[in-house]
């Protein structure tokens, strides 16, 4: 049974190094957030978040070791069990969890609490990999699409009950993995088109201009192409449908809960109410924007230190980096993320089993989504969504779940030679 042993030389040290680089930079940033020159406390002080984060980092290393010494078949064989287990916890959370600000996100006993929504990500990635690994599984076929989306929609539904829109959105990132696994391209065309039209409808003040634009395009398409009546009818219907959609958006937005409506409005005009709903985005941009090219220096930031930016050690952690290390600091961290994601693509593509590759792309999907959305919201490119920056943000559930997510894949990758015999 030599093949189950840890194979140090097969571990992808590039990915592991980037992981540790990000975790350490994150840890130093968390200290910068809580640092107060008037009450000097050590970075190791357990009464402040940097001390606690160090504890989460330590336990994460424990988790990494556990994952690396486990048998690679463990994850594959138990994937559905893990998935069902976390679904069960998600079902129980609303009944036994702790309510904070109207949301029930965590469950546990006393001080020890976890957010099952975070852990269900890797469980879902495992389950999808398991379901989709069969050679016959073909995402271009309708019935397989149903199965894949089914596995995805159950946790989404349960998380929406908490309710935690931000985390639920993360699950849609698996669409990237679906793309790699053969979901027809036109799905994405239609999807991206819909997003584009939605953003336009929200961003353009007068929908009439947009409607006129669509009429012009449809008119041009009809005029330039074959003039059969079926074609004219089809294009006309598409045009009418689009215009109806544009006008329905305002209606839908008006039906959204007020706080979500505000988040959408602020994206298009952050100055709408700089002391109210626009506060987070405005202050976050001021903090990052004041960093300049090289930043104000470590522990020298004023915006994040003096609490101008809310939730700065969790969702808005990037502000501290932007303020104290400037654009070059941002470049380094974004470079590390891009490097890690690129490395993961290379690793996923070299997998010998469909299970490992699909899981790998699941990891890429989730990390990319978090990375993109979190930084975008801090610089006003995306509405404020409460999701953490992987490896960076303060919090045990967040760090643990991303560590588990990533290292299961690193483990699978390191054992790929053992999986040779099972190539599909």
């Amino acid at each position: 049974m030599k093949e189950t042993d840890v194979q140090i030389n097969r571990i992808d040290w590039i990915a592991v190094s980037i992981y540790f680089a990000l975790v350490m930079i994150g840890w130093f940033n968390i200290y910068a957030v809580v640092y107060d020159s008037q009450v000097e406390k050590s970075i190791f002080d357990f009464s402040i978040s940097s001390g606690k984060q160090l504890m989460w980092i330590g336990t994460s290393i424990g988790l990494i070791i556990l994952i690396m010494v486990a048998d690679y078949r463990f994850f594959e064989n138990l994937s559905l069990v893990i998935y069902l287990l976390f679904l069960l916890i998600l079902v129980l959370t609303p009944f036994f969890g702790k309510e904070v600000n109207g949301q029930i996100l965590s469950i546990g006993v006393g001080e020890f609490r976890i957010q099952p929504g975070e852990f269900a990500k890797f469980a879902t990635a495992l389950a999808l990999a398991k379901v989709m690994e069969r050679p016959t599984f073909d995402l271009s076929k309708r019935n397989y699409q149903f199965i894949a989306f089914g596995v995805l929609l159950v946790p989404i539904g349960l998380i929406l009950l908490q309710p935690d829109t931000g985390t639920a959105m993360v699950y849609f990132s698996f669409l990237l993995m679906f793309y790699r696994e053969g979901l027809p391209q036109w799905y994405y065309g239609v999807g991206l088109g819909a997003i584009a039209i939605t953003l336009l409808a929200l961003g353009v003040d007068n929908n009439l201009y947009l409607a006129a634009f669509i009429v012009a395009i449809i008119g041009a398409l009809i005029y330039l192409g074959k003039k059969s009546w079926q074609r004219i009818l089809a294009f006309s219907l598409i045009g009418i449908g689009l215009i109806a959609y544009i006008y329905s958006i305002d209606f839908v937005v008006s039906k959204l809960p007020a706080h979500q409506q505000n988040r959408v409005m602020v994206l298009f005009n952050p100055e709408i109410d700089p002391l109210g709903v626009g506060w987070n985005v405005t202050q976050s941009k001021i903090a990052i924007g004041s960093g300049g090219l090289f930043g104000k220096g470590y522990l020298e930031g004023t915006q994040t230190k003096f609490d101008f930016v809310p939730e700065q050690d969790t969702d808005f952690i990037f502000c501290t980096l932007g303020e104290e290390f400037g654009w070059f600091g941002s470049l380094v961290v974004i470079g590390l993320f891009a490097g890690l994601l690129y490395r993961l693509v290379i690793m996923a593509e070299r997998q010998k089993t469909r299970f490992s590759r699909i899981y790998g792309y699941g990891v890429i999907s989730i990390l990319l989504f978090h990375f993109m959305i979190n930084i975008s919201m801090t610089i006003g490119l995306f509405p404020v969504v409460g999701i953490p920056l992987p490896f960076f943000s303060y919090g045990g559930s967040s760090l643990w779940s991303f560590t588990i997510l990533l290292f299961i894949f690193i483990k699978l990758d390191s054992s790929r030679a053992s999986q040779l015999g099972r190539i599909n």
């Binding site: 008037q38 053969g182 924007g289 004041s290 003096f306 101008f308 654009w327 990319l368």
Partner: protein
């Protein structure tokens, strides 16, 4: 095909990173407005408001000081009330007030502090201070307001108010900023530059709640503030307060001056208002209430109200006549009532008798000789020349133009010149018979109560005065007051001419104002009656005492109180007693004045 899709995913990764870096580049490097906003966020320029100077009376009693007041501020985002009933009990507000205040604060900003309870007293502040720690999001902001231990001399001291946009525009030295308090009237306005001190600036780092997180760059950009200078007023607090007591419920003015120095001992305008009510947060409400009041409590009568001087002006006429040589102590005229009305008294009278009996026909005839000196054969021309020459002499008595004391808004009154009559009647179409009412201080003549008091001082001083003023020292140094208050003005009449006048005035009050007579103190006085076309005449009296060594000169106006011998003379007499004796023995007379029933 799968490889191609992997390439698309790699492309997406790098595209996302590139877009983020590009956007970051624009806000971090290209657009520097964020840096400025960060500085205005966290580096607060805190103006260190200096302590405004205090004002003392001439005996060293405090008139104006600064009272610290405390506003309870709330940051809605952090505020947790817990048990509402307990909170309301501790802070002594009703639940409705709490909800209203909190909602108002929330609608301003959820993250910036706004006042929840305004103007807590020092006592309330001490009481709630210990509970504050139990309530996150609450803190105390300290400010100071002007406070008046004795609520008197409101008009003289003046009040502060928030600087207006117009005043800010005029502030070329850019000392003031929006929201600053500035003296708007009285001494507060005139001595604004002395009282305000010098603002300092501190740059400090603050967190989102405005809590101090230490000086910026160790305070190397900070400047110190300097407290304002203290004023020593010429006012006598006890005399002022006594005057306000006597004048309460009446309308009018009292001005008392120390003749030898021009220092104003008391200056009051009735009806009064309580200066404490115009200090601090109540300003807006009180001001509009006072402003709408038909009895015009904000109107500063001693320097803003003008009346015809009436009979008192006959003394000025006498002095001009004596100096010109037109009148001598023995000059006699018949009391010819066909010229102008008079009252029963022996006739004919000499100058002394004319003053004592306030004989109108005497001055009608004397003034004609002053005006028409046959300089020109043309009567009209002769009158014009005579009037203008006479006017020059009258102006020297501090009439016809503002005396320019240390207070703004002073009126000059009026001593008519030929131009005025040319305008009314046409050039060369008026002569002595047109203007004769000037002879007895009627007609177009107008003076302020302050000018009248100054006249009394001139009579007391035998021909000179110092510009009346309200401040005798700045920071204890009498040399710092404006030099114009140390200049002696002479009226161009030889001192010996005043002897007869003083004797006649001392004699006059036995006839015209017997109630004002004091047994063992010689008061020289003259009654007057300012004709009032709108109702009962105004009662006027000027006096100085003691006659041989005058320490106080006074003018009293009581509106609609009829003849000067009653209301005004008794009030003046009591004021003199109060100032010279420090206590008033004539309680019956005091009761008479306080009852205020002079007309019937």
């Amino acid at each position: 095909m799968r490889d191609q899709r992997a390439a698309v995913i790699v492309l997406v990764i790098f595209l996302v990173s590139a877009v983020l870096l590009l956007k970051l580049f624009t806000i971090q490097v290209v657009d520097d407005s964020f840096l400025r906003r960060a500085e205005s966020n966290a580096i607060q320029r805190v103006v260190d408001h200096p302590y405004r100077g205090l004002i003392y009376d001439r005996t060293g009693k405090l008139l104006v000081f600064n009272d610290p007041i405390f506003d309870l501020m709330v940051v809605p985002r952090e505020f947790q009330v817990g048990d509402t009933v307990r909170f309301c009990k501790l802070f002594q507000i009703s639940k409705e007030e709490l909800i209203e205040g909190y909602n108002a604060a929330k609608s301003y900003s959820r993250v910036k502090p706004s006042p929840l309870i305004k103007q807590l007293s020092t006592k309330d502040f001490a009481r709630i201070q210990d509970f504050l720690v139990d309530y996150p999001g609450l803190f105390i902001l300290t400010r100071s307001v002007r406070s008046y231990p004795s609520p008197v001399a409101a008009h003289a001291l003046g009040y502060l108010g928030e600087i207006s946009a117009g005043q800010l525009k005029k502030d070329t030295l850019l000392y003031y900023s929006q929201g600053d308090y500035i003296g708007l009237s009285g001494l507060e306005k005139y001595y604004e530059n002395e009282l305000r001190g010098k603002k300092g600036v501190k740059y400090k780092m603050v967190n989102v709640r405005g809590l101090d997180k230490g000086p910026f760059k160790e305070g190397q950009y900070d400047t110190l503030s300097f407290a304002g200078k203290n004023l020593t007023s010429t006012l006598d607090l006890e005399l002022q307060a006594y005057g306000e007591l006597l004048m309460s419920g009446k309308t009018g003015s009292v001005v008392a001056i120390e003749p030898k120095t021009g220092e104003i001992l008391a200056m009051l305008s009735a009806p009064f208002y309580n200066p404490n009510e115009l200090a601090g947060a109540a300003f807006g409400k009180t001001y509009s209430k006072l402003n709408k009041d038909t009895s015009k409590p904000l109107f500063n009568r001693p320097i803003m109200a003008t009346y015809p001087p009436g009979s008192i002006f006959k003394i000025v006429q006498s002095l001009i006549g004596l100096q010109e040589g037109i009148l001598t102590p023995t000059t006699t005229f018949a009391c010819n009532r066909s010229l102008v009305a008079c009252h029963n008294h022996p006739s004919p009278v000499n100058l002394f008798g004319a003053i004592r009996n306030s004989c109108n026909p005497y001055y009608h005839q004397a003034f004609r000789q002053i005006i028409n000196q046959d300089v020109s054969s043309n009567t009209f021309k002769d009158t014009e020349i005579g009037l203008n020459a006479w006017r020059e002499k009258v102006l020297k008595f501090g009439l016809g133009a503002p005396l320019s004391l240390d207070m703004s808004g002073e009126k000059g009154g009026n001593v008519p010149s030929s131009k005025l009559y040319d305008r009314i009647y046409g050039e060369g179409r008026w002569k002595y018979s047109t203007i004769y009412s000037l002879s007895i201080g009627q007609g177009e003549m107008e003076v302020t109560p302050l000018q009248m008091a100054n006249l009394a001082a001139i009579f007391a001083n035998k021909g000179y005065y110092y510009t009346p003023h309200l401040v005798k020292a700045i920071d204890g140094d009498s040399k710092q007051i404006p030099s114009k208050f140390q200049e002696k003005h002479t009226v161009g009449v030889d001192p010996h001419h005043f002897d007869l006048i003083q004797d006649a005035m001392a004699e006059a009050i036995y006839g015209t104002a017997p109630r004002a007579v004091m047994k063992d103190l010689v008061i020289a006085g003259k009654t007057g009656t300012a004709q009032n076309p709108h109702g009962e005449d105004h009662s006027v009296f000027i006096a100085f005492a003691p006659k041989d060594d005058p320490k106080i000169a006074i003018a009293v106006y009581v509106e609609n109180a009829g003849w000067g011998g009653l209301a005004a003379a008794t009030t003046a007499s009591l004021m003199i007693e109060k100032y010279l004796r420090r206590t008033v023995a004539r309680t019956e007379l005091q009761d008479y004045v306080l009852a205020g029933n002079f007309v019937n």
